[in-house]
Symmetry: C2
Subunit: 242 residues, 2 copies
DNA sequence: ATTCATCATAAGTCGGACATAGGACACAGG
DNA sequence: CCTGTGTCCTATGTCCGACTTATGATGAAT
């Protein structure tokens, strides 16, 4: 490996598209562009920067899919306010590309769900808890409804965790929790389905009830114990083929 | 607010660019496109799909910035293998736009760091622990070096947490941990700097030593106690203006 | 005042053109 | 042999100009 002389700096120049992105994001950092603001029309921007409209378009498109900008036909392009759903896509793509991420994903889920529950335990209010208990009822009802109760149960199960996620009152954590839940959807369905069909639906309900109880008592150590002992245990045991 | 009749489904058709993205990501889900694979040249793809090259380009660009594809001039465009750093960007943009996300970020950090430590406690090996202890030494050395020790300490501090992150042996969690650490870099620097200058460097060392000790004993409940009681406490207390 | 037609705007899409970087290959020179 | 150079080809990078289409605004007709 030959060592390049130090006076040779690597001068690969950034692409036109990248520089457009930089211009726009710099403007956002400087607060020259604030959420809700309209950026100049594409042709105008292209002219100002002395580049082609297609390059501007590519930059705008990228920022759009990143959830930074929002284009409305015939109106213009605007700086988004707050978080947008598309922010999660990059992570999703990252996951898709990662091959043997099953265990990693389940671990990540344990991480996020646990963290979210800790937040929830500190921040939820009574109304939210009532909603959560309602969802617990739904789960039980689904379970008792006999045949083909798996889908209904799973829906309620997901709603249950989404609710806890909301109760944490942290949009960032909530978002990540949802992403991870989405990514583990299929696997979790398999697990839940297998358990219910195997007559172990009671255990599932039990775990969720304990969980709900710990939340209701705002008992953090109990929550941690539940999570550690039982809640994720089944999922991590009944994993599919490697 | 007029309520639209339910039989009217919202049929805004997806854009050409979006459909290209779907085609490509579907192929990835089906494993027809695997990491490292080369996708057809832009003109060819455009012809196959019956659309213009510029649309294909926009889709590719987006996936490139999302860290899914990688274009090499004169060679072609390839599916990335593994995670790419660019995954960070979307979150960064999100943060730029979100004003009062400070608390949310710190909470998120507590979430991820805690989860990562739980993984680490289960999976690390002796060599990694030695490295970690070495970093602890670095931190102490930096602290004892008197004046302007803040930067050195902070560097070692970050390396310390990166090391724990690695010890968890979950690339996904590691990645997310790094992202969150990056996002909270400035805030953490402020906190650490203030503590050291305020003569509270000892507390900092103490917390990290206890942490390291809990890891060494693989004592999960002790770890949880530390995290809950002291470790993040200072950070959450000494937050800047709202 | 409400409804409708018209128009201007700006993004969406298209297709073609040239520039340019990088790899492959063959070839000359040591 | 193998090292370096020059040439060619490929595929992306960039640019241009045109048309299409959705949407808000304007103004006229009811």
């Amino acid at each position: 490996m030959k060592q390049a002389p130090s006076y040779l700096k690597n001068l690969k120049q950034e692409s036109v598209v990248q520089s457009v992105i930089n211009v726009l994001t710099d403007a956002m950092r400087n607060k020259e562009l604030k959420p809700g603001d309209k950026i100049p029309p594409e042709p105008e921007l292209a002219a100002s920067l002395g580049i082609a409209r297609s390059s501007v378009r590519e930059a705008i498109k990228i920022l759009t899919y990143l959830g930074v900008l929002e284009s409305k036909r015939s109106e213009g392009t605007f700086v988004c306010s707050g978080f947008k759903e598309s922010m999660i896509d990059p992570m999703v793509y990252g996951i898709i590309l990662n091959q043997d991420s099953f265990e990693n994903l389940m671990e990540l889920r344990e991480m996020t769900e646990t963290g979210i529950m800790r937040l929830a335990i500190l921040k939820y209010d009574k109304a939210e808890m009532r909603t959560l208990e309602g969802l617990l009822e739904d789960m039980r009802a689904a379970l008792d409804s006999g045949e083909e109760s798996v889908d209904a149960f799973f829906r309620a199960d997901n709603a249950f965790h989404d609710q806890i996620s909301q109760m944490g009152k942290n949009p960032l954590a909530d978002k990540i929790g949802r992403v991870v839940r989405t990514l583990t959807y299929a696997m979790r369905y398999e697990t839940v389905s297998a358990m219910i069909r195997g007559g172990r639906g009671g255990e599932l309900m039990d775990a969720h009830e304990k969980l709900c109880g710990a939340l209701k008592n705002r008992d953090l150590s109990q929550l941690e114990k539940i999570v550690r002992d039982s809640y994720f245990g089944e999922a991590l045991q009944s994993k599919p083929e490697k």
